[in-house]
Amino acid sequence: MTELLVGTKKGLMVLRGSGGRPLEIAGRAFAGEVVEFATRDRRSGRYFAAVTHGQFGPHLFFADDPTKAWAQAEGPAFPTAAKAAVERIWVVEPGIGDGILWCGVAPAALFRSTDGGKSWALVEGLWNVPERGNWEPGAGGLCLHSICPWPGDAKRLAVGISSAGVWLTEDAGRSWRRSVGGLVPRYLPEEARKDTHAYCVHNMHRAPRQPHTLYMQFHGGVYRSDDGGESWNDIGSDRGLPSDFGFPLVVDPHDPDRAYIIPLKADADRVTPDGCVRVYETSDRGSTWVARGDGLPRSQAYLTVLRQAFCSDGGNPLGLYFGATSGEVFGSVDGGRTWSTVAERLPPVASVRCGDN
């Protein structure tokens, strides 16, 4: 059975069915509220939903069955001394170690749970880095949206912040350093790039089978790191991509050489280029990219796919799913070679994650 958790502008849609066929809406939660992100911690089986209520702000909920009752987590919320309030919850990521999870929010901050996601505490080390006063928001706000644990090493973590770059810790969050070597912020005048703090990371994922390999979708540029995020190599220029701008990114959990992106026309437009929906796959660490569009709309389709709206199911062959703000969800059960529409006429899709991974 395939289970997708689709966060939309009007609630969480729990889609279920057989892979490769249209999925049914098995449940809907948080009707009328914006579900920014939903995921499942495969270790505990617990589901999480980040909900932004139009009047009452952002809140995190958890459940053992996403089609039944949800409980509200304690946090994430800033301590009084931080003099800040959570504006949006962007991502929840299982960590390394029993009950450890991480949560990224706007304004850019990282929270940690040690009790399986029931309660959350601010990671003070990142919040208090001296450079934070220089951080600037991207169009989506100053947000920490990408969290990359290091399999087998609970102390190492990489996070991506828009637009404050990549930050690394090797002591479980007590101390942090920025790591942006190789990234080129082309959106700035050349003479302003050297001293800028404005590194607009759009998405970042680690290859779990080879943790020193990470892939990144940047605000104009696709990059790979071979050294755990210490430095970054351009894998987007002159390689056949219709655009090196975008947000969605998936790394094959079984193959560190394989990754997928969905380019969007840069950067004021932010729709699928030429009205044609295509996923681009690399199987050689970004040396070349191949368009995967069999079964996807080929014309008159100007879709926007948001940052968290693309995922894999972790299977082999790999299942891939993405949703658009126009309300469609597309899926592939063969690693991207062929695609089909698995849901349509949903509210604008903010996030897609597999519940059965």
Partner: protein, 86 residues
């Protein structure tokens, strides 16, 4: 004791109650008292800085009030979700 009148979806975080008697001499103190009695309400009416959520309004005797407004024992304070969204 002042009475807090809850509307809409926040009621579900206060055991489904629409009217709750609380302590406090100001609207802020009354909300703190409400949160102490119903911890699930924390973060819904005011954020973690204690600021009123942008689209939440408080009314007393038909007038919109700020958090530092005094409330008398006979007062009713309506917590209203402003019309917003899309």
């Amino acid at each position: 004791m002042p009475r807090m009148i809850l509307s809409g979806s926040v009621r579900e975080h206060a055991g489904g109650l629409g009217t709750i008697e609380v302590g406090g001499a100001t609207a802020a103190a009354a909300i703190q008292s409400l949160e102490a009695a119903y911890p699930a309400l924390r973060g819904w009416i005011v954020d973690e800085r204690g600021a009123l959520r942008r689209h939440v309004k408080l009314f007393r005797r038909g007038e919109a009030i700020a958090l530092d407004a005094p409330v008398a024992p006979a007062d009713e304070v309506h917590i209203v979700a402003a019309i917003s969204g899309g």
